[in-house]
Symmetry: C2
Subunit: 207 residues, 2 copies
């Protein structure tokens, strides 16, 4: 199959308008089952090392589990606030949307003792495959006008315990998903001047 | 900005027709500078933890460097062949396109001593941000009808030495990029029954 210039431009538009969504930017509107399926379809079409597909998606609607993950975030963010105590802005930032988002998805990496093609030299390829699936989900959600936020200020072991994850799994990401009041034009941390945007020239070299 | 149903379907089509491209599936046709720029534009629009943008793209056209990476692959794959000696298929597989692809790109993660927002609890978030950028590149390349292959059977330290990478960098991926004779309809390892395709039901649970 061949794609044309419009297709490529459309993809770039989706990629550029994807945002990390948090807090009350989420609405309570439920995500339709068919849209969740499209997002998961995008996930499992991701590349994976040796076609191992080492991903597991735990879709969380249960309020009690969400509450325990939220408490986990609060504990970890208390430590983070201490680390960033010299930067006043940090404490003002809303860094998750666990309770606001109608859906949470924990994305796990399933370890195996089996040798995996393509993983004999670079051991992290399995985890990286799961991250590729997450990026597919993020773009697919955006194309469906659904917001997604990746919460990383969490204690991994406690998350795994909260969701009763099997022993051979690792947490790669904890995602919040839902419709939004708005998608910001620019990443919030750019607007707030937490970091400046790098250009292609800043981060590439030719050999 | 709102996307419509056609946009979402188009994205899913791009995602599903993305392939890992190897060997003589690449043609020698040069990749136009403007298309490489679009691929890098997609990369730097990826999400990154704390907007840290910890990526570095080393674009390799130099034949001597490609040769040294190719030798690195041959050494590592000799070890891998030993590991998979009970699976006859392994030795027959073409697992890279380093010399055939007109462009190679090493994608690096730049470590820093600075505390990064969102990385205080989960230390791998920086690396994962770089993987998100790689998945954006892969999809953008596919939308431009350009093939991409991720080579992971490499000794990381030797790759970093071959490309004279700064000391604070890690290799996340070594990519081969170029126009192709064809994109396969199905992943090769699926067709060859190395692994079977998982369904959404196989790899998701609802809580």
């Amino acid at each position: 199959m061949n794609f044309n210039k419009n297709d490529a431009n459309k993809l770039l538009q989706i990629i550029k308008s994807r945002r990390d969504v948090r807090g009350n930017r989420f609405t309570s509107q439920a995500v339709e089952e068919e849209k969740l399926q499209m997002i998961l379809e995008a996930a499992i079409a991701a590349p994976s090392v040796g076609f191992s597909q080492p991903w597991k998606f735990v879709i969380i609607k249960n309020q009690q589990i969400k509450d325990s993950i939220y408490n986990n975030f609060v504990d970890e963010n208390t430590k983070a606030k201490e680390i960033f105590k010299d930067k006043e802005l940090y404490a003002k930032l809303k860094l998750e949307g666990i309770k606001e988002a109608p859906l949470n998805i924990a994305v796990l990496y399933e370890e195996t003792d089996k040798e995996i093609l393509g993983m004999t030299s670079m051991k992290k390829m399995g985890e990286y495959s799961v991250v590729c699936a997450i990026q597919n989900m993020w773009l697919m959600a955006r194309a469906l006008n659904i917001g997604l936020g990746w919460v990383s200020i969490l204690n991994e072991k406690k998350v795994l315990a909260s969701i009763h994850a099997p022993k051979n799994t690792k947490l790669i990401a904890y995602l919040c998903l839902g419709y939004v009041h708005e998608f910001l034009d620019t990443p919030e941390l750019q607007t707030l001047e937490w970091e400046t945007k790098k250009s292609i020239e800043n981060c590439s070299v030719i050999l």
